[in-house]
Symmetry: C2
Subunit: 197 residues, 2 copies
DNA sequence: GTCTATAATCAGATAGAC
DNA sequence: GTCTATCTGATTATAGAC
């Protein structure tokens, strides 16, 4: 039996979609409501304010993205080579963003614009995800076979910024999400020059 | 004789600073005016609207960034190996962003949020800069010694997103702009694995 | 749970004095 | 060229009917 999504969920879905399309300031409650099949004041029956709604989208986006990536990595097992696990994480991240998870794309799009108090809470929720990436990178460095002169934090920041940019420029075309994901992994691991110099 | 900057220039400088700190919607005319030592309505003596002011910051940012990078690359000469030229461009871009050019950082920060008509004009102005990067990448691919399976457009998008993210997370610390710039170049060219695998 | 008003707020923009 | 005072418009949010 198909469970029809309730009003609250429809609002969250709409908010995620509008946030990643228009940004934080551009996401008007009237747009979110219309996409959810209602009018703006109805939102207040489900959420106390726009900020609360946005924050819930952020938290959900972090949770979904994190769960997706961890699942794809951990299926490989802890004994899998660190670079194989890192590659899986990169591909999972791109695939998730480009295959239409509006929640995770919304986080990538509006995080920088969040009001500072909310940003603090969202960042705290983000930290375990961030640590997961850090661990993947540090494990690879510890295992050897990588460029140890690169700073793990710098690598992580560059890597995530790069991956998170993909929804802003990706358009369905000759390269699909899976191909972009593979290119991302090759680029991150071996660079523009590649394995055979 | 020192030329004191005039009101118009002070406003542009303030706007660039506030835009990269607060984003487009967060950049209030009253904040911009205050930093320029005046009150909000005074801005209208110099600019017809906030949009016109923002657009001028964007155009100036693109011009400055582009001029800086082209200068640093062309000093090497057209005969310099393409990878050397690409490395110089990467380092110049990071150095320029992190050494405090608010105009170029403002472009990186607010471009996605610009109203669509303005975005079109800014994108047109950006295209010659974008083409310059594309040419650097394509020249390197044509010269050989790089991973040809990577799509030039995908590489360019990832590369610029990565570099443009740096102002959002960089804080003066153990690694300075020059070190980050070098790490960026190594990472882009040889990847996380690096030259000696 | 959604609607029709309507209030409250805030930021961009204008008028006109100085 | 900058100010004070004010207007306008857009958007969040509330009140209360259905």
């Amino acid at each position: 039996m198909v469970q029809i999504e309730n009003g609250r969920t429809r609002i969250l879905d709409s908010a995620a979609a509008v946030l990643c399309k228009r940004g934080l300031a551009g996401a008007k409650l009237s747009d979110i409501a219309r996409m959810a099949g209602m009018l703006a004041p109805s939102i207040y029956h489900h959420f106390p304010s726009k900020d609360h709604l946005v924050e819930e989208v952020m938290m959900e986006g972090i949770y979904r993205n994190s769960r997706h990536i961890v699942t794809k990595v951990e299926v490989l097992g802890a004994e899998a080579p660190p670079l194989v696990r890192l590659r899986a994480a990169i591909q999972a991240h791109i695939n998730f963003l480009l295959t239409g998870d509006n929640y995770s794309s919304a986080v990538a799009r509006v995080f920088d614009d969040l009001p500072s108090e909310m940003k603090g809470r969202v960042l705290a929720a983000y930290s375990s995800f961030d640590n997961y990436w850090r661990d993947l990178i540090v494990a690879a460095q510890a295992a050897g076979g990588v460029n140890r002169s690169l700073d793990a934090t710098v690598v992580r920041k560059f890597l995530i910024a790069m991956l998170d940019s993909s929804p802003s420029w990706y358009r369905p075309g000759k390269l699909g999400p899976a191909q972009i994901a593979e290119q991302a992994a090759d680029f991150v691991l071996y660079g523009f020059v590649g394995r055979e110099a």
